[in-house]
């Protein structure tokens, strides 16, 4: 499977996700420069974490205008797989590929912390192989990860089974205390209605290497490969 990782000026988790795809999953990865128009025939596009264009306006608000994003939007429109992690998720909401918005964390501070995630559904490419009963410990690192959407959008997400991950406690209970950034109904990750565009604030690439003593994120990458290769 050929992955493309988009590099915006200010991306800083690009090499981390490339490392996991290449060295741990053994996949082919190409780096897609934001100024280009060529997707180089990739099967799956990842928008990595970071601070694209410094995120001085709203996170992701400038990156959506990068030349390559026109191609990404077309690619997604034709059913191509696109996944945004952290800043990538923010860019996807700004680009209109995913509903809702990521607001400032409720404590107004940047938070870098391991959190627990409850997988809400197996009905998506990136969650297909995950155990719904076993919470995943995956870190977050963001200042604007507080997911918000209006009531209609939320109802749509719920009705269509588009909520992929929610913040929970160590035992898997969805609680107020575990809602680390104040997200609407603890939402940590979603997909679009056609189930080919995914966004999540936590960083699975930071929990995929045995040397880091946490491989809870590996199942997400394995789900992608298992389903696509099957």
């Amino acid at each position: 499977m050929k992955f493309g990782v988009v590099i915006f000026p200010g991306s800083n988790c690009d090499e981390d996700v490339i490392y996991v795809l290449e060295h741990i999953m053994g996949q082919e990865v190409v780096r897609l420069w934001h100024k280009d128009h060529d997707l180089q025939g990739v099967d799956f596009i990842i928008l990595p974490g970071g601070f694209s264009f410094g995120d001085y306006l709203r996170s992701g608000a400038i990156a959506r205008f990068s030349p390559l994003m026109q191609e990404v939007i077309q690619f997604a429109g034709k059913g191509g797989y696109v996944m945004g992690i952290c800043n990538g998720f923010q860019i996807l909401t700004e680009a209109g590929l995913l509903p809702g918005a990521l607001l400032h964390n409720s404590n107004r501070k940047f938070i870098c912390h391991n959190v627990y995630l409850k997988t809400e559904t197996n009905n998506s490419l990136i969650t297909s192989g995950l155990d719904l009963q076993k919470p995943l410990m995956i870190p977050i690192a963001h200042g604007e990860g507080n997911y918000f959407a209006d009531a209609d959008v939320l109802k749509g997400l719920q009705d269509n089974d588009q909520i992929l991950f929610r913040y929970c406690d160590e035992a898997g209970n969805i609680t107020q205390d575990s809602n680390i950034n104040g997200s609407l109904v603890n939402i940590a990750g979603i997909c679009n209605s056609t189930r080919n565009v995914f966004g999540m604030m936590p960083h699975p690439e930071r929990a995929a290497d045995s040397i880091l003593a946490n491989q809870d994120g590996l199942g997400i990458f394995e789900s992608i490969l298992k389903t696509v290769n099957a």
């Binding site: 000026p9 200010g10 800083n12 988790c13 090499e15 981390d16 490392y19 996991v20 100024k35 974490g49 970071g50 601070f51 264009f53 410094g54 995120d55 001085y56 404590n107 501070k109 940047f110 938070i111 870098c112 912390h113 391991n114 870190p139 690192a141 200042g143 960083h203 690439e205 930071r206 995929a208 290497d209 040397i211 880091l212 003593a213 946490n214």
Partner: protein, 737 residues
């Protein structure tokens, strides 16, 4: 050109004799631009004029050294297998005292540029912060601003902040200390030097435009902080981490073209500093057209362009004929890349503005090691030092309720968890931080693509250094080495950040001299050369005098194989707990004595350099032979806090017995040096004791790991969960969520 007088020189912070020396060098009276150049280059910050005599006594050689102290922007150490580490620590105290957010942010920016200007990609950052007590709203404001500044800059720049220290004492109320450290990795052949040569080679300025921010910043950092310091606000620079990130990528990319002769970042003293230091090193001159420098503001004067400390800029000397390759890289990253001059053979720096010569100075006379002045300052032992030696533990009544002492320490901001700070920093980007999910005494960061890791720590207990500068600073080095050793690493080299008061005060200079002597002794013993760093004098105000002498030690260690990585947490109930090292009847300079008894007149804690070193060798053997399950050094808060810190990560506890020969408060809360708490699986006990028997290092069995109860001599000190709840939330309680 307007000529200057000795009054102008004094206004710019120069001494009358320095003005005379400048006239001698030039053979004429300098104009204002030239005088400004000398004033910043001969400021304490750039010239080290009051410290260099003593700094030269420090050990700087070692088999691993690739760039020694004073040779480049940062020290470079060979890690083997064609990989080197470039690392350095630097202060941003004065700007942070006035504008904590930008002051701290630009400190992070500056130290990282020192690393990547040499071709190394930063992989880890640390910081060492000191503030006045948190009962003051202003101190809370300073702390919040500094932490946000470091976080916003470092997080966006995208390099993990993996460790640090935070300490509170009244002496830092007006002069907080903000020291930032960075470490980067470079493959052999990928480095570039801060030099300039080759007549006719073009000189480029790249990165951000030049504005009026930070003019005379280096001179500002060379004065006491007073009420008038608010007028120095324009001396504080403004940071842009996005530009820094672009500059990092572009810089490393341009080095790969092979077209770069030399490169230096622009930090303190801006263009003039990089021009003069590179030219002096390469023994050439430069002709620069200042009107070609991209500027943010109109009508900037020559001295403003030369001295501006606008951030995120680099000076690059390029091989003639290869300009296009260099320009293409910066074009890709949308950064300025403008040829502003050429290398000459005159060894002089000639600055033109609109075709007119505005300054003409010899490069070598501006720089450290060249013509910059060097002073030997007077020093005198302060009266308090002898008084301190009169302290006796017998004058301090042992409290009846030691559980209350334990609670006091656990809830003290100097002891409690610093997670309020550390969670605002991205500590995981780069996916190499091995200490994210495993606690250890030093931060351990894997070098991807190898079996190696680096171990990093910053340490200085300034209360010890105040009590006894020489011993206190040796302790700082020893504690750093102990932390590296407990993490499974081999101490390799240090960088230092020397924060002191006014060097013209003999008692302050005595502290400086003592600290340097202690550092030299300890670094010689541990074979950790001093690779450079920075000196920050004038951390002194009219209200509260000088800060505690604070020579922060940033130590680099290496794990040749990540398998030797050692953690500090107890692993299983029933494991045996031993103290490796000597128990001493000592409470001097402990947090316990300072904040529970409010006694500050005392010597530094017990310390024996030879025994300390020998103990570290034992710990290394225990780790390499897989005989221990955890190792954690005894430092602030003493043995009790060390045991608690080992207990909390896995919700375990301890049951120990004290030593009849030692007062129980000293046993639990004393801060005698040279001790490490280890836990041992019962099946390893025999081999463990056998190994210790072959050494001279003392060993005592303390007790064993429990399911969560904390007890000393069968007296309950509560449950680990209760202590954890307090320890974990002290700073949140004071500073809010």
């Amino acid at each position: 050109m307007q000529l200057t007088t000795v009054e102008t020189a004094k206004d710019l912070g120069l001494l009358p004799e320095e003005f005379d020396r400048i006239k001698e060098i030039l053979g004429r009276t300098p104009n204002f631009t030239e005088l400004s150049i000398f004033s910043v280059m001969w400021s304490e910050h750039c010239s080290y004029k009051n410290s260099i005599t003593w700094l030269k006594t420090l050990p700087k050689d070692g088999p691993r050294m690739l760039a020694k102290a004073g040779e480049e922007n940062a020290g470079m150490v060979d890690l083997g297998d064609g990989v080197a580490c470039v690392f350095k620590i630097e202060s941003h105290n004065h700007p942070s005292a006035l504008e904590p957010y930008q002051g701290a942010a630009t400190g992070v920016g500056g130290i990282n540029r020192d690393i990547f200007t040499m071709g190394a990609r930063p992989i880890a950052q640390l910081n060492s912060l000191r503030f006045g007590n948190l009962d003051s709203e202003r101190n809370k404001w300073l702390l919040k601003g500094v932490v946000k500044g470091i976080g916003d800059y470092g997080n966006a720049f995208g390099i993990p902040t993996v460790g640090g220290e935070l300490f509170f004492d009244d002496c830092y109320t007006i002069n907080p200390l903000v020291n930032a450290m960075s470490a980067g990795i470079v493959e052999s052949g990928g480095t570039v030097s801060a030099t300039s040569y080759g007549v006719g080679n073009p000189v480029y300025i790249v990165g951000s435009s030049t504005g009026k921010d930070g003019i005379h910043g280096a001179a500002f950092a060379s004065k006491n902080i007073t009420e008038d310091s608010v007028n120095d606000l324009p001396s504080v620079q403004v940071g842009d981490p996005f530009q820094e990130k672009l500059l990092l990528e572009a810089t490393l990319e341009v080095i790969r073209t092979g077209a770069v002769i030399g490169m230096q970042d622009m930090g303190a003293a801006g263009i003039i500093c990089s021009n003069s230091e590179m030219s002096a090193k390469g023994e050439h001159g430069m002709r620069v057209d200042l009107d070609k420098v991209p500027v943010r503001q109109e009508n900037m004067k020559p001295f403003e362009i030369l001295l501006s400390e606008s951030q995120e800029r680099m000076l690059i000397v390029v091989e003639k004929g290869r300009e296009k390759e260099v320009e293409a890289v910066f074009e890709k990253w949308d950064l300025n890349c403008v040829e502003i001059g050429q290398v000459t053979d005159t060894k002089r720096l000639e600055y033109y503005m609109d075709g007119e010569l505005v300054a003409d100075v010899p490069a070598d006379d501006l720089v450290l090691g060249g013509g910059a002045p060097v002073y030997k300052r007077e020093f005198r032992e302060p009266a308090y030092y002898k008084e301190n030696q009169k302290f006796s533990i017998d004058d301090v009544k042992e409290p009846e309720n030691l559980v209350a002492v334990a609670e006091h320490l656990v809830s003290h901001p100097n002891i409690a968890s610093k997670r309020w700070v550390s969670e605002q920093y991205d500590s995981m980007v780069g996916t190499a931080t091995m200490t994210t999910n495993k606690p250890s005494d030093a931060a351990v960061v894997n070098i991807k693509g190898t079996d190696k890791a680096i171990a990093l720590t910053v340490d200085c207990n300034s209360r010890y250094v105040y009590a006894d500068p020489q011993k206190g600073c040796a302790i700082a080095v020893a504690e750093a080495a102990r932390n590296i050793t407990c993490a499974g690493g081999e101490p390799v080299a240090i960088t230092n950040c020397l924060n002191f008061g006014n060097p013209y005060v003999p008692e302050v200079y005595w502290q400086f001299v003592g600290a340097i002597k202690g550092m030299g002794e300890a670094c010689t013993k541990f074979e950790t050369p001093v690779t450079g760093g920075n000196v920050s004098f004038y951390n002194q105000s009219s209200d509260e005098g000088p800060v505690f002498p604070t020579p922060t030690i940033g130590m680099l260690g290496v794990l040749d194989d990540v398998k030797t990585f050692m953690t500090s947490d107890f692993k299983a109930e029933g494991d045996l707990i031993y103290l490796v090292g000597e128990s001493v009847n000592d409470i001097a300079s402990s947090q316990y004595l300072a904040s529970f008894h409010n006694i500050t007149a005392c010597p530094a804690p017990y310390f024996d350099l030879e025994k300390e070193y020998a103990m570290h060798q034992v710990i290394k053997q225990l780790i390499s032979q897989n005989l221990i399950s955890s190792a954690h050094d005894v430092s602030d808060g003493g043995l009790y806090i060390a045991l608690l810190e080992s207990s909390m990560p896995n919700g375990l506890g301890f049951s120990i017995e004290s030593d009849d020969d030692i007062r129980k408060d000293a046993f639990l809360f004393g801060e005698a040096q040279g001790r490490v708490v280890v836990s041992v699986k019962p099946e390893n006990q025999g081999a463990f004791i056998e190994l210790l028997a072959t050494s001279d290092t003392e060993l005592s069995l303390l007790g064993s790991v429990t399911a969560g109860q904390l007890s000393v001599d069968e007296e309950s000190f509560g449950d680990v969960k209760e202590s954890w709840a307090i320890y974990n939330n002290v700073l949140h309680g004071i500073l809010g969520a």
